[in-house]
């Protein structure tokens, strides 16, 4: 079979193709003219009726990825005692992944990269990682995983959202710098009351880093109950009153019981809530720690702070701490601190804090901190 085309054969083919193309074009031109005139009429009608509609634009940001955010906490510090007085470090980097899993549950993960204050080395940890149900009946909600437990106000709050840089002495004495944060389950029930009342019961497999509780080799769990009550006093003022009770094993293979009360009053004028606000928050802790059949220690601690927003970007916070040592109530710490925060935007704040601590068995000391917090990516709302 000869597939070669000589010039004599190509020319008639080109002529034929040209004829087809031009004939189609002529038909198309005829149709186009008719269509154009219809379009022209439509445009004229639209201009006359003046029913202008905004152009539909493609919506962006459609993705099945979870919301991802990074919160960084850079610090500089000074302490008036010891050999090393000044320090500067990236205290913690928190990476969050948050999303609804399916119509029944959502998942929240907070991974942290923090500096160990003793070794100065950075390590990674799961700060929180839990699922929350969205569709249980009877106004119940279940949370399963690793989470900050529901003790009062400070423990459930991520440190970058607090209005001061250090944690209150009483809180650290009972729950440590990382707070009570462990693996287990949490069931909460919204009570059928006219005001907001939520009852929470949590069982966790033991605190991995807590002065009061200990994760041993046995089968003992930490049990926690919390009753949160929230009252709207007026459009601008609210009051929260909470009761907490915790019982669990300690490092003496015995039991520690802690009772806590939290009280928070807020004034936030609805109309200008981004310019002015005032928060007065206090928590009281009472601990009963048994160490052996004959040895037991009862202790008490509290903090109370007043935060005042003086302008859109400026916050001032004064705090008083009182803390008896959990193992010996005769050792008493008292501290006074003052913090100033400047919020550039919702995604960046700089804070200064000065603190004076007095301990009844040793000389007092002073501390200063600077904290610069910045956020990239998504960042959800904090508790009110």
């Amino acid at each position: 079979m000869n597939l070669q085309f000589g010039p004599k054969k190509i020319i008639p083919v080109i002529v034929l193709l040209s004829a087809i193309i031009f004939s189609n074009k002529t038909v198309a031109q005829t149709d186009s003219t008719a269509t154009d005139s219809v379009l022209l009429k439509q445009i004229e009608q639209q201009m006359q009726t003046n029913t202008e509609v905004a152009p539909q634009q493609t919506r962006s940001g459609i993705s099945s990825n979870p919301d991802i955010g990074v919160v960084a906490d850079f610090r500089a510090s000074y302490i008036s005692q010891g050999k090393k007085n000044f320090d500067a470090y990236l205290n913690e980097t928190e990476i969050s992944f948050q999303s609804v899993v399916d119509p029944y549950i959502r998942a929240d993960f907070f991974l942290t990269f923090g500096r160990d204050p003793v070794t100065n080395k950075y390590g990674a940890a799961v700060e929180e990682g839990y699922l929350t149900t969205l569709s249980l009946p009877a106004k119940l909600q279940l949370k399963v995983g690793k989470f900050r437990e529901a003790v009062g106000r400070i423990n459930p709050t991520h440190p970058h959202a607090l209005p001061f840089i250090d944690l209150p002495n009483a809180f650290v004495n009972y729950f440590g710098e990382e707070g009570l944060n462990d693996e287990g389950a949490s069931l909460s029930w919204l009570l059928p009351t006219k005001f907001y009342s939520e009852l929470i019961f949590q069982a966790t497999s033991g605190a991995s880093e807590s002065p009061s509780f200990y994760r041993g080799d046995n089968n003992r769990f930490i049990y926690l109950g919390h009753l949160k009550n929230f009252f709207t006093l007026s459009d601008n003022t609210t009051l929260e009153f909470g009761l907490s009770g915790i019982t669990g094993p300690n490092d003496s293979s015995s039991t520690t019981n802690i009772g806590a009360i939290d009280l928070t009053y807020k004034w936030k004028p609805v109309q200008l809530n981004t310019y002015k606000s005032l928060t007065w928050q206090s928590e009281f802790f009472y601990s009963n720690a048994k160490y052996s059949a004959n040895k037991m220690s009862n202790s008490f601690g509290l903090y109370s702070f007043l935060e005042y927003q003086i302008a859109k970007r400026w916050f001032l916070t004064g705090r008083y701490d009182y803390a008896q040592k959990p193992y010996n109530k005769n050792i008493v710490e008292q501290a006074y601190s003052l913090s100033a925060g400047w919020l550039a935007t919702e995604f960046q704040k700089i804070e200064f804090e000065g603190k004076v601590t007095n301990v009844n068995i040793q000389s007092g000391f002073n501390q200063f901190w600077l904290r610069w917090i910045f956020v990239i990516g998504a960042h959800g709302a904090h508790q009110y």
Partner: protein, 300 residues
């Protein structure tokens, strides 16, 4: 026997009374509440989270809102990312599967709205950029029709027995919007092309509908408070363009526009961005009546 009949009659009255407004709706804003009430009539009882004089970006997620959400049959949100800082947390805590996103009781009122200012890329260096587009779309009364359609569809999903009732109210709402729009258009017609300054970038839909021209904002970037250099820039613009008015909202302070007003003589006007911003604004139509009357009085 008569007593039994009387008791039954009384029970019927009580039951029928209980049905009036028996669909519980929670809306994020007053504008959504107003339109829901017009579509739902006596079949709905509506609660709102934000007030009309509150910045809808920064509503505090008070636990007390969770109670009304936990009992709601329908949830209406402005959507896009207007309420992103507070409504997802409240919804998650509501323990109410009926109103979660994707459920029949979840209404995103922005569905089908022709969005303006949709960014092609997102960079927070530009301030509070809305990734889906400008979310203040209810300030164009024609978008009120889209909102109403979405709300009617939501009500019909959860209460199909009353579909005809909702459709009738929807078409009455459409007719009133068309009628009132002619009135507002007529009032604003002499001022088409008027140059104005706004505090925050929340008027683009209103600007477009009524042919205004926003030259600049008091905020140098969305969400960033006015800086001295921005005030100098605005003062120059007001003088160069003979601008008559700076418009703002009830939830912004006037200290920066006071400075510009003192330097240039420009008038300051606090307009309503939502129903309930001022006591005279009872519904969605009052909102535009108020803003159009206030603006035309100043632009004369």
């Amino acid at each position: 026997m008569k007593k039994i009949i009387s008791i039954f009659s009384l029970l019927l009255i009580i039951i029928s009374g209980a049905n009036a407004g028996s669909i519980k709706v929670v809306t994020t804003t007053m504008d959504m509440k107003s339109i829901t009430e017009m579509i739902g009539g006596n079949k709905v009882s509506v609660q709102t989270i934000a007030t009309g004089y509150q910045n809808p970006h920064f509503v505090d997620p008070k636990p007390s809102y969770i109670i009304s959400l936990s009992n709601a049959d329908l949830f209406v949100t402005v959507g896009l990312d207007l309420e992103t800082g507070w409504s997802p947390q409240l919804l998650s805590s509501s323990r109410n599967s009926k109103i979660q996103k994707g459920s029949p009781g979840y209404v995103d009122a922005s569905e089908g709205v022709g969005l303006l200012q949709v960014p092609s890329s997102v960079n927070r260096g530009e301030g509070d950029i809305h990734i889906y587009g400008n979310p203040h779309y209810w300030l164009d009364p024609l978008n009120g029709k889209v909102i109403a359609r979405n709300i009617a569809s939501g009500l019909e999903r959860i209460d199909p027995a009353n579909k005809d009732f909702y459709e009738a109210n929807l078409h009455a709402f459409f007719a009133k919007i068309d009628l009132k729009l002619k009135e507002w258009d007529a009032k604003m017609a002499p001022f088409k092309g008027s140059k104005i300054i706004a505090y925050h970038n929340e008027w683009v839909y209103f600007e477009r509908r009524f042919g205004l021209q926003i030259v600049d904002f008091m905020e140098p970037k969305p969400g960033i408070p006015p800086s001295p250099s921005q005030l100098v820039k605005v003062i120059k613009e007001v003088t160069a363009n003979k601008i008559k008015v700076i418009i703002s909202s009830p939830y912004f302070t006037t200290s920066s526009s006071d400075v510009v007003a003192k330097q240039t003589g420009v008038k300051e006007l606090t307009l309503a961005t939502s129903v309930g911003a001022f006591s005279s604004i009872k519904n969605y139509f009052d909102l535009f009546d108020y803003d159009v009357d206030q603006l035309t009085a100043v632009l004369k």
